[in-house]
Amino acid sequence: MSQLQLEQVRKSFMNGEVEEEVLKGVNLTLNKGEVTALIGSSGSGKSTILSIAASLQPLSKGRIIFDHQNLVELKPEQIRKIRAQQYGFVFQQSHLVPFLTVEEQLSLMLDIAEVKGSKYDKQNEIKNVLEKVEMTHRQSAYPASLSGGEKQRIAVARAIIHRPKVLFADEPTASLDSKKSNDIMQLIQELTHSLEMMTLIVTHEEEMLEYTDRVVKMSDGEIIMVN
């Protein structure tokens, strides 16, 4: 069974001449078809865990096992390839490319992930994904003309169009109102189940936890509770 495992992950920073440990030996496993929520107070280390798990920053000690290989031992180009092809990202803000239409954003992600297939196949894939996020009617729109909720739906579409194994979402509803937040979380949960992705969400909104399958609570760089 495909998994992403963090084993005894430690992360420390130098603050002047003092070494500060922000992660103190974290063990975490993400499972297929499951939404795992990371919660905790500000500074608890939840965003650091997500960025380390996504190989966006190096760890100080420990191992990250994905597809039977320790990512810590891989070269930057191999990591890039895994990020492009096996991971999907949804950020706090949509971070769409301002000069590309919705359709082009998704096409660009297919290119980044080096997805093989004819132009026709790719067009079909874009259409399918837009249907999944209910944004077919906005496929020719530029980001500037989309609402906050619509932008985030497109960001979700971009994160899943290349069928990643892992979806990382860092406070994906932070910039949305309550109704739109629920919609986005529901969408992420449905997609995680239907596409059998391992999803790791960082959130501080407790009402969003109903859309997750497992809750991991962090405090002071350690996991203190798993539900």
Binding site: R80, V97, I112, A113, D170
Partner: protein, 342 residues
């Protein structure tokens, strides 16, 4: 490639401003280069039209043709051994066009050779530019230096020296006009050969011994090179500024897994599109300028110079854009994510 084009299409104003500045700088460079080339032709077309070979002047001439006097024995030695070698002298003079009008000219005389026609006593051959003064073959003209008159035997093309039309004259008449016997320079189409008591110069070295030519060309070429360097810096600065605005977007794309090379290709493509469009426009405008420039303005921009300068601009632009792109390699995706909307 598509990414680059899409951005240009969506930010027409921003890229048009960059393109317009490149256009103006390259146009200015083309025009100054055209003037440098035109002035060079106007100044030295006589020497520039010589075949490749060696110019000899007396060792004690201080590298000045005006002070050079070639020893007769050495001249004979060179002419006998040098194939199509010939000796020649140049002096400035004043051609009387009519009773009220004189024209500065450069008089040239030479020994028999295959490059210049023989001139008979009492005859002169003029640069074709003097036709504009209404002079025609068969006219009788005189010089301020002498009361003798000379018959115009014909005209030659592109024979100018020291910004003056050249007058080809018989050796005996030249000697009478300037009261001199010795030749100043020996030209040999054979490559450099050391002769005791003489200094040898290649064609370009000889041109550089002529003070007016050197000073004029050095100044204009310096301006051209400065403009090219400035355009390179402009490229670097413009792309740097544009990249700074897009660092967030680049960081997000890197987080998504885009190759750094793809981002470089994007910058290079944009640089290429802007530069080539600007260069085509400025090359066309410089040709228009050539056709409308007053005839008294020595302007000449051959296609080869335009192409060479354009290639130089593209290389400099490429370097500038690449330099500005170094920051792309250093972008931290995490920082871009934390900074907010791209």
């Amino acid at each position: 490639m598509i990414l680059a084009w899409k951005e240009i299409k969506n930010n027409k104003a921003k890229f048009s401003i960059v393109g317009s500045i490149i256009l103006l700088i390259s146009l200015l460079t083309f025009i100054i280069s055209g003037l440098a080339n035109g002035l060079s032709q106007d100044n030295m077309s006589l020497i520039k039209n010589f075949p490749d070979g060696t110019f000899y002047m007396a060792e004690d001439s201080n590298n000045s043709y005006a002070q050079s006097r070639i020893d007769e024995k050495k001249q004979m030695q060179l002419l006998e051994n040098g194939g199509d070698s010939f000796a020649f002298s140049l002096q400035m003079g004043n051609l009387k066009i009519d009773s009220n009008k004189q024209k500065n000219v450069s008089l040239m005389t030479y020994t028999d050779n295959k490059y210049y026609q023989n001139i008979d006593n009492g005859e002169i051959v003029l640069d074709h530019s003097l036709k504009k003064e209404g002079i025609k073959a068969g006219d009788q003209l005189s010089f301020r230096q002498s009361e003798n008159s000379f018959e115009v035997a014909g005209f030659v093309d592109d024979a100018r020296f020291n910004h003056s039309p050249v007058v080809l004259i018989n050796q005996k008449d030249f000697n009478n006009l300037f009261r001199t016997q010795a030749f100043q320079i020996v030209f040999s189409p054979i490559s450099n050969k050391d002769i005791d008591g003489l200094n040898a110069y290649s064609n370009s070295e000889f041109l550089n011994t002529i003070p007016s030519y050197q000073a004029e060309q050095m100044t204009l070429n310096m301006i051209v090179w400065f403009l090219i360097i400035i355009s390179g810096m402009l490229f670097a600065i413009f792309f740097y500024m544009m990249n700074v605005q897009k660092l967030g977007m680049y960081g997000i794309l890197k987080a998504l897994g885009i190759r750094t090379n793809t981002l470089y290709t994007m910058i290079w493509t944009q640089m290429g599109i802007i530069t080539v469009s600007a260069l085509i426009s400025s090359a066309l405008l410089s040709q228009v300028f050539q056709s409308i420039a007053p005839t008294s303005m020595p302007y000449s921009l051959p296609l080869t110079s335009t192409i060479q300068l354009s290639i130089l601009f593209i290389v400099v632009g490429f370097m500038g854009a690449t330099l500005s792109g170094i920051q792309i390699k250093r972008i931290d995706p995490l920082q871009a994510i934390q900074q907010g909307e791209a």
